[in-house]
């Protein structure tokens, strides 16, 4: 008879990437039907409960406890699998603690031991992230907060505190930064140069920095501020501080701003600050229209436009996509994105071509996915609904498997658009994993798949190697995300 077993490790922390690997190993064992390892926060316990994986033991776990949950064909199989994974957890822990290097347990201890430290990079679960950031700021550290699920109230108080201390608060939900040429969290190894970036979007920064780097330019600094910074509640505190820093930075000659459209109260403040600078700005507020910009600023509609404008306005060479026929009766575009801003850029390009678009992360003019009908569907797989209790699709592209199989089987879908985002922090071989996924799926009379690779030759995955893997799997590769969307339009016979 099927049996669900929970084992609780009290006061035992492991990060989400380590837990993902252990969960996979556990789920692959003989007789195991479903399995997960999660910290015992209320939200994680709810996920386990919804999956039928929460037993009485697990229900009593607390936020600092690790829950091993397994459902197997019988109690013997469940016990055996749990014992194997427990041994793995304990051996990993011994290996980690067997290291003779002392590891501080608090920010205070780390800051005391390293008085030169000037940045805290925080990626602990969201419910604890604000507390850690508060400690870091009070010790005069700049903060890059990768963690998400932080309340807007905490974000406001942290940013106000950071402003008073004169330090930068990047995030929460700040996926990307490049400081003094060093990629932080999800970022790419780009050429150093004179273009500074301030962005409320991780993948937006990645796309623009890599396009600039791959087309002859270079980046001075790229500062992520978190997706909500330009909302009226936050008031653009970090964006304004980042502009001040780049304006004063002699190595930065041109500044690019990337964000969703700012709140109506914060927009004039940002534009006023831009107008006070002697440096030229490129402003890419994805989805905004009719911006009245100061004379030193130009507007860019897409990320690609922003990269081109920062490099002087000349168009990049667009790779041609040809020789592909459109299956009869299919006219739909399905986007399966790991990057939220790349999904937004594609929506804009399709909307500008007069198409009807629906998305779970809709830009102005697009509809909601729940009411999509026969609209083109652009899905942001990094959205909370897909990532609850599991790593972001850039770390774990497995999230794409089911939506991809569904798109390939959908008789209305003609083109599937996919973003491959490489660089530090990302999966070691996302193109290879996509090729493996496709090899397991029915592809008769299947849609055309068009991808782009956000990254550089200097990234660990090497952009050209990723492109080769995609092409070998029968995927068309465009020069940028915008080019991929334009190629989809061409395949459907739409001249934009």
């Amino acid at each position: 008879m099927e049996h669900t077993l929970n084992k609780v490790f009290q006061g035992f922390y492991k990060d989400s990437v380590a837990l993902m690997r252990l969960s996979r190993d556990l789920a692959a064992m003989d007789g195991v039907n479903e399995a997960a390892l999660m910290m015992g926060s209320p939200s994680n316990k709810q996920i386990l409960k919804d999956a039928g994986l929460l037993a009485d033991d697990g229900a009593t776990a607390e936020g600092g406890d690790l829950i091993l949950a397994v459902r197997a064909k019988d109690s013997d199989a469940a016990k055996k699998a749990a014992e194997v994974i427990e041994t793995q957890i304990m051996s990993q822990t011994r290996a980690a603690t067997g290291d003779t290097v002392w590891q501080p347990q608090t920010i205070r201890a780390a800051a005391k031991a390293n008085p030169d430290a000037n940045l805290a990079l925080i990626s602990v679960p969201g419910e604890f992230a604000a507390a850690e950031a508060r400690k870091a700021i009070s010790r005069g550290l700049n903060v890059m907060m990768f963690s998400d699920n932080v309340s807007i109230e905490d974000e406001i108080s942290l940013k106000v505190q950071a402003r008073e201390q004169g330090v930068l608060m990047m995030g929460p939900d700040c996926g990307t930064a490049i400081l003094d040429g060093v990629p932080l969290a999800f970022a790419n190894k780009v050429t150093t140069g004179d273009i500074g970036i301030v962005g409320a979007s991780g993948t937006g920064i990645q796309e623009v920095t890599t396009l600039i780097s791959n087309n002859g330019g270079g980046i001075s600094q790229a500062i992520g501020v978190g997706g909500r910074d330009l909302k009226d509640e936050i008031g653009g505190i970090s964006t304004l501080m980042a502009i001040d820093r780049l304006d004063a930075d002699p190595a930065t000659k041109h500044i690019v701003l990337i964000s969703k459209p700012p709140g109506k109260n914060v927009l004039p403040r940002i534009l006023e600050r831009v107008g006070q600078s002697a440096k030229p700005f490129t402003i890419c507020f994805i989805g905004a229209s009719d911006l009245e910009l100061p004379s030193n600023a130009t507007a860019a509609r897409t990320l690609k436009d922003a990269a081109q404008a920062a490099l002087g306005g000349d168009a990049f060479a667009e790779p041609a996509v040809s020789g592909v026929s459109v299956p009869k009766g299919r006219t739909g575009i399905r986007g399966l994105y790991s990057g939220g801003t790349l999904a937004a850029e594609t929506q804009l390009i399709l909307l500008d071509a007069g198409l009807k678009v629906a998305s779970n992360a809709a830009v102005p003019g697009a509809g909601s996915l729940s009411d999509a009908g026969d609209m083109h569907k652009i899905i942001d797989l990094g959205d909370d609904e897909y990532t609850q209790g599991r790593p972001h699709p850039m770390i774990d592209p497995e999230i794409r498997r089911d939506p991809l199989a569904a798109a390939l089987a959908d008789s209305t879908v003609d083109v599937v658009l996919i973003d491959i985002v490489i660089g530090y922090g990302a999966h070691p071989d996302p193109a290879g994993q996509l090729a493996e996924m496709l090899s397991t799926m029915q592809r008769a009379d299947n849609p055309t798949i068009i991808a782009s690779v956000t990254g550089t030759e200097q990234d660990p995955q090497i952009r050209s190697s990723q492109i080769q893997s995609l092409q070998a799997a029968g995927i068309l590769v465009a020069g940028s995300n915008a080019d991929a969307a334009m190629a989809a339009l061409k395949l459907l016979g739409i001249n934009s």
Binding site: G11, Y13, D15, S16, V17, M39, G40, S41, E62, G63, G64, D65, Q103, P104, Q105, T106, I107, A110, A111, A113, N114, D116, A117, N118, L119, A120, L121, I122, S123, V124, P125, E127, F128, A130, A131, E132, R134, K135, A136, S138, L141, N142, F146, S147, D154, L168, L179, D180, V182, P183, L184, A185, Q221, R245, D249, P250, A251, Y424, G425
Partner: protein, 60 residues
């Protein structure tokens, strides 16, 4: 042309990081020769987020 002044570190000193969370970020920074200290972090206050927030506001 770049001058010495152009090459000033952005945060006022050479980038030096305290990493709190995913250990792969610390490994990648070390690969770039960035001084990094990786915390042996565990959820504070016995895993109670509200108590952890309160303690951080008290400066502990």
């Amino acid at each position: 042309m770049a001058t010495d002044q152009d090459n000033l570190p952005f945060l006022g000193g050479k980038l030096s990081v305290i990493n709190v969370g995913l250990d792969k970020f610390a490994t990648e920074l070390a690969d770039h020769d960035v001084p990094v200290v990786h915390l042996d972090w565990k959820p504070p206050a016995g895993g109670d987020p509200e108590l952890a927030a309160l303690l951080s506001k008290m400066g502990t």
